[in-house]
Symmetry: C2
């Protein structure tokens, strides 16, 4: 595997402000930092920027997690566009979040005192970064999952600042999605090391966070993929599930392994916070109704459903595209055929490439109004 594309500006960039930032909850962040990465160059008119929004556990390093899409000649063509990745506030990859110092308690991290955030909060901080970079209008915003929610929020909250939007595997969570997110947070809260979120940095609630991640992995993948990859085979290390309670099937070994691995790279408070932000995402908030929110959109909007996604069922994504179309939006729907479930937007990104390229390069979008019916 080749090394990931490096950002144009070496290392990641940081944008900091001492201006207080008022969150939707009413709470204020006294100061804030956004970690971001730029790939390619901003042109003189600063109208060639693509904002790529990461998913729950992603980072500003877009080329690390979407290598099929970012680079010279790729759909996010770094010879033409300036691709911007921004770590969301609340995350643990460089932007202000629960691991940051709490200004009210010097030398202590916020931990679970970090206030509730919304998708709209995340997007408004990104807008501040664009102001700082002198970008008035984005050529496009693109993202999958919670990154897709940010994309939708951009379209609604800053209609004048975005030309095209592609949201993949994203819609307001259904009751089943809310249920599965809740169970993940419960898994973390049940861990005695959780301590209401006030754990020492080196004593995370690892068992709970690993279980949360394992539940999430089931929601990110599909039954079909698990059958294909693991079937009913015993754990590859030679365990025999018929022998003892501890011996596992291969799928269980996989979930345990990836659950444990995740705890080395992600913070439990960030997890709870971002999962909650996912839950509360609704387009209508602040606009009276979803329809009123959709009617604000002036961007060309493409929603992409993933055929085997059961966290964000393709039918939900398509339904949203149809409501957008009905609200007068230049909206389209495309479906990614993938056995990877919700994760298809990462695992089958090569299939996304032509879809993304079309939206970015076409001047007219005759296909999209039709795609919802396809």
């Amino acid at each position: 595997m080749s090394a990931a594309l490096e950002p144009t500006v070496e290392g990641d960039c940081t944008f900091g402000t001492d201006e207080p930032f008022r969150l939707n909850s009413g709470a204020e962040l006294q100061s804030g930092t956004l970690r971001y990465a730029l790939y390619g160059e901003l042109n003189e008119t600063r109208d060639n920027a693509l904002l790529v929004c990461h998913a729950l556990s992603g980072s500003a390093r877009v080329a690390d997690w979407w290598p099929q899409l970012v680079g010279p000649g790729q759909p996010f063509d770094t010879n033409r566009y300036c691709v911007i990745g921004v770590n969301t506030i609340g995350s643990c990859y460089g932007s202000t979040g629960p691991l940051s110092e709490n200004p009210q308690k010097p030398h202590e991290p916020y931990g679970s005192n970090f206030p509730l955030i919304t998708i709209n909060d995340i997007v408004r901080t990104q807008a501040l970064l664009l102001d700082h970079l002198g970008i008035e209008r984005l050529k496009a915003v693109i993202g999958g999952s919670i990154g897709g929610m940010q994309t939708l929020s951009w379209a609604v909250d800053f209609p004048e600042r975005v030309e095209r939007c592609i949201a993949i595997g994203a819609a307001p969570l259904s009751a089943m999605g809310l249920a599965l997110n809740h169970l993940q947070r419960q898994a973390i809260r049940n861990d005695p090391n959780w301590r209401e979120g006030h754990y020492p940095h080196d004593r995370q609630p690892v068992a709970g966070l690993a279980l949360a991640r394992a539940i999430a992995l089931c929601t990110y993948k599909s039954s079909e993929l698990f059958t294909e990859r693991f079937a009913r085979r015993p754990d590859r290390s030679g365990e025999d599930p018929n022998n003892s309670f501890a011996e596992r099937y291969d799928i269980a070994g996989y979930l345990d392994y990836h659950g444990a691995l995740f705890t080395k790279r992600f913070d439990a408070n960030s997890y709870v916070l971002l999962s909650k932000a996912m839950d509360t995402f609704e387009l209508g908030r602040g606009y009276g109704s979803e329809n009123a929110a959709l009617r604000r959109i002036s961007a060309h909007l493409l929603l992409v459903g993933i055929s085997s996604d059961w966290l964000f069922p393709a039918s939900d994504v398509r339904g949203l595209a149809e409501r957008a179309l009905a609200a007068g939006v230049s909206a389209g729907y495309a479906e990614l055929t993938s056995t990877h479930g919700h994760d298809g937007f990462l695992a089958d990104a090569d299939q996304l490439a032509p879809i993304v390229r079309t939206l970015l390069e076409e001047k007219e979008y005759p296909a999209f109004a039709q795609a919802g019916r396809g």
Copy 2:
């Protein structure tokens, strides 16, 4: 709601033996007790018995959990049949299980020293009870979920002792099913009160068991049902999920409530044990292959899939019916259209009634060989 039908013999019956019982694992139970309930009377030739196998958290009291099917004039017509419910070994409703005294450690329960059991073990203890009752051959065995696994096991392991079998929402678990069961057991094991299964009877790992049950509830229901019942409504007690981490959506309140309720009526060791028995169920064990196992069946076999079941997808149940048919079994497939997911066999039992009645009353089964194609 009217009171449940009472068993014919007042109270539940108990069958005890001091004969050691050798389990598939090689371990031996020194002695054993089976709690059972009889509805209706055995006829003189003792050939009118229906064995009804309960699901994971069920009991011998069949009429309590399948009231639509058991009673005078109902499909399990207690005027004609003697309906037998048997609490499975390993459960906590009267039969030998983790809460029973461990003969090796007088006055202490087995707890997690209770040995691994298999579906075949459960069925062989039921066969001992039938010997005791003088029943050579069952008119039928019926069950859903893990009760359906027992039904399938009856057909394969005791072909000469059963005339008709109806297994609903049952097949060997797929990788996703194995994953979801594993996560439930992990939720229990993560609870510090679990103590490797050696908890005092009054200090169960309630948080872990409640979470396990909440995960299970998601696997027993369907996304469609959750949307219909809960949508994105806030918790009915007046919580606002936008306000704080603790405030929930209604679906989360529902899962928490039913999770907690479950811990008052079920033992964590029994849960782990029976969930593991579900995992290891495969028809081929001991017979070389699934096909060899299926070829042993002489009963008329009806498999019923549930349209919205994602724990035991209807396609898996149908696939098993097709393999049985191909192996020469008088096998059929019917599909219960239900939005209740796996729980449909309980929640929509009134729709099961005509299916069950047909299998029990028809002399010939022309419909079933066709049903798999329907």
